[in-house]
């Protein structure tokens, strides 16, 4: 589904991302972990053609993302609050996204009905603009908006951060549910090792822009990751 080839991103002389080859098959739930500055958001931004690669390219479902825009109809994402339109109410925002993805109000309402639990009564019918919602509630709205319009690829950057425990658990159930259907490719990045190991079949560890681990999730994975990050921390301290 998503093929990355010889991808590098440099700022000046500093290499921030260098992925020789990475293949993400259709329907996989894919986790990306790494410390701050490891290149997670850079990779997602490249995938969404928000920044230009220095060399190489990403092909999303046979569409090379930096030359064609045809990946947009089947790809959706929530990177950060800058993906929300602050002066809209959550409903208006959902309808707007729906409209962009060819869904009418009824379709969007039907989808939203599935997320009533997830919203916990704090999103819909609040008569508040998105900019006046708390960070966590903004995030909820943004994540659900990325489910609108039957996307085949969903990209979520740090979806668990800022969410309360109940919502984290619900979000994990939602992502697992998506992954179980084997039709939607879900890409998730996180700082929280426990969350990603729980929801992702495959975990790739980025360190200083390079892929250093590529693991099929098993019972051992969490321990493996923990020992890896404990190790890099030590080596960072030595530097």
């Amino acid at each position: 589904m998503i093929t990355t080839q010889h991808l590098t991103k440099k700022y000046g002389s500093q290499m921030v991302l260098n992925i020789e080859h990475l293949e993400i098959p259709k329907g996989q739930s894919f986790g990306l972990v790494g410390n701050n500055g490891a290149g997670k958001t850079t990779y997602f931004s490249l995938l969404l053609d928000l920044i230009q690669p220095t060399t190489g390219h990403i092909v999303n479902n046979e569409v090379q993302v930096n030359t064609s825009e045809d990946w947009k109809p089947f790809t959706s994402s929530f990177i950060d609050e800058s993906f929300l339109i602050g002066y809209l109410t959550p409903e208006e925002y959902f309808y707007f996204i729906g409209e962009l993805r060819g869904r009418n109000k009824a379709d969007v309402d039907a989808l939203l009905a599935n997320f009533e639990d997830f919203f916990h009564g704090e999103i819909l019918g609040q008569r508040k603009y998105l900019r006046d919602l708390s960070k966590g509630n903004q995030k909820k709205a943004g994540i659900v908006a990325s489910f609108i319009g039957n996307p085949q690829v969903i990209i979520l950057d740090e979806p668990f951060a800022n969410l309360d425990p109940t919502t984290q658990i619900r979000l994990k159930a939602i992502i697992k549910d998506l992954a179980a259907k084997k039709e939607i490719t879900v890409l998730v990045s996180s700082h929280d090792l426990m969350h990603v190991t729980e929801v992702c079949e495959r975990i790739v560890v980025l360190n200083k822009g390079e892929v250093v681990r590529d693991i099929q999730t098993s019972a051992e994975t969490l321990r493996e990751l923990e020992s890896f990050f404990a190790g890099t921390q030590v080596s960072n301290e030595e530097e």
Binding site: L48, K72, T75, G86, Y87, F96, L100, K128
Partner: protein, 489 residues
């Protein structure tokens, strides 16, 4: 402690990412500020002599005093828009071991040193110096000046007290109009009575105590209010605006661009700065009166063409020059969503076109000044529609400065760069020059027809032009995205 506060202030000014970035803009603003100061100062110096010459029988001081009440009211009125108590800056200070009363004093004293307070002094100080040179008693003049300073500060602090209420603003506006009306229809001479009041400040230096007490009083009221309200959920909290939803289904008839049109309408109506721009645009329809009411220009002067372009295109230039920066806060989403860039731009072009038509309709009463005025405005509207709309959209592709929609509307230079000044050239100067040349060497009719035809041609080729503009946006996508991400630029 105060030294720390001052150094914080200093750093926040010099270390803002804005500083030094757009030197040209800074220079221009600096130039304007100096110009303003110089003109105020020269008015202050000249005031005495002007009044002496115009009203040889009256005492200049008495005349000046007569206008002081209006000055106070008008300044209060304008400050309501211009000045807000800078409470947000002190949020980080709350966590440190600093007494709340000290923080409150800091904000209030800082506001006392604000630039607005010095503006009037640029007139008052030179005026007082001239008076003393002219042999007025030094003690009286100095105490009068001191009284003026106190009144300015009282205005400053009163403004923060009334800042919470729109009603007071309306009341102030009504009061100014009412007083002026009484004066104008000779019912009651406000100038005379209020003038006596202010004049006595000059006559009896001891009365200076009154304005002094007023300053202390208003300061104290503010201080009490602030100290009690220095909590995150009280005065430091930004007000959450109540949602006003409106059904915009009528936009559906515009087809594909409907969702963007709805978004743009909400953008304009729900954000202060854009909303303000609508009101400014509507008010600017009166701009022409300055020129048409003067006889000096003749009826086909180039100045009228400039006025016509300006009036029918005011929203075009005010709103259009910041496309797509209005959407900068969520431009990343716009670029990764399933959005045809072309439709996005079409919606903006449609909105601006509607504004041009509306402004032209509003300008029809200028026909009172002769059919030529109407012809000029009509040609200008056509030219704006056909030529200036694509031009401003094209220049928009050079925008890469973020606009924070939640920031206030007045004196907000966010998003401004050299582009905004460059774009004025093709927008207003080109048609004016064209008109001037054709009118001078051929005839008025030919000039008008040429501009109209240019507009119509531009309109006919709108699709091609918009395609070119879309291409320009596509090319500069990454630069825009990177620029819009930068905060405070």
């Amino acid at each position: 402690m105060f030294k720390h506060f001052v150094s914080l202030q200093w750093k926040s000014f010099f270390r803002s990412s804005n500083f030094g970035k757009s030197l040209a803009l800074k220079l221009l603003m600096g130039f304007l500020a100096v110009y303003l100061m110089l003109s105020f100062a020269s008015l202050g110096i000249g005031l005495y002599f002007i009044l002496k010459k115009a009203f040889p029988d009256s005492e200049p001081m008495l005349i000046v005093s007569g206008y002081l009440l209006y000055w106070v009211l008008i300044e209060l009125f304008f400050r309501y828009f211009m000045q807000k108590l800078p409470v947000m800056d002190i949020k980080p200070l709350l966590l440190y071991p600093i007494k709340k009363s000290k923080i409150a004093h800091y904000i209030l004293i800082k506001s006392g040193l604000s630039g607005y307070n010095f503006l009037s002094l640029f007139i008052a100080v030179p005026f007082s110096i001239v008076l003393m040179v002219q042999g007025y008693p030094v003690i009286n003049v100095l105490s009068w000046l001191f009284a003026i300073v106190c009144i300015i500060l009282t205005i400053n602090y009163t403004n923060f007290i009334i800042n919470k209420s729109d009603k007071v603003l309306l009341f102030l506006g009504a009061l100014i109009l009412a007083l002026y009306g009484l004066e104008y229809f000779n019912i009651f001479s406000v100038k005379e009575y209020a003038g006596q009041l202010f004049y006595s400040l000059y006559q009896n230096p001891i009365l200076v105590l009154i304005p002094l007490l007023l300053v202390i009083g208003t300061y104290y009221v503010n201080f009490n209010f602030l100290r009690k309200k220095l909590y995150l959920d009280a005065s430091l909290k930004k007000k959450a605006v109540k949602v006003e939803t409106s059904d915009l289904t009528w936009t559906k008839r515009f087809g594909d661009i409907a969702p963007f049109l709805q978004l743009d309408l909400k953008l304009i109506w729900r954000n202060k700065r854009t909303k303000m721009q609508v009101f400014i645009s509507l008010a600017m329809i009166l701009y022409g009166l300055f020129f048409y009411s003067m006889d000096t220009y003749g009826d086909t002067s180039t100045i009228y063409l400039f006025v016509g372009i300006f009036m029918t295109g005011i929203f075009l230039s005010n709103f259009g020059q910041f496309i797509p920066a209005w959407d900068s806060e969520y431009y990343g989403m716009m670029m990764s969503q399933n959005i045809p860039l072309r439709k996005y731009l079409e919606s903006k072009a449609g909105l601006i076109s509607v504004s041009i038509v509306v402004m032209f309709l509003l300008s029809i009463p200028y026909v009172y000044f002769g059919w030529k005025a109407l012809a000029i405005n009509f040609a200008c509207a056509l030219y704006n529609l056909g030529v200036n709309v694509p031009v401003i959209l094209f220049f928009g592709s050079f925008n890469k400065k973020r606009i924070d929609l939640t920031k206030s509307a007045i004196g907000n230079m966010q998003g401004t760069s050299a582009t905004q000044f460059l774009v004025l050239l093709p927008l207003m100067v080109v048609p004016s020059v064209l008109y001037f040349v054709l009118k001078t060497f051929v005839s008025f009719e030919v000039a008008i027809v040429t501009l109209s035809v240019m507009g119509i041609i531009g309109f006919a080729f709108r699709n091609t032009l918009l395609n070119k503009v879309t291409e320009a946006y596509r090319k500069r996508k990454y630069t825009m995205l990177a620029g819009f991400k930068e905060q405070n630029s």
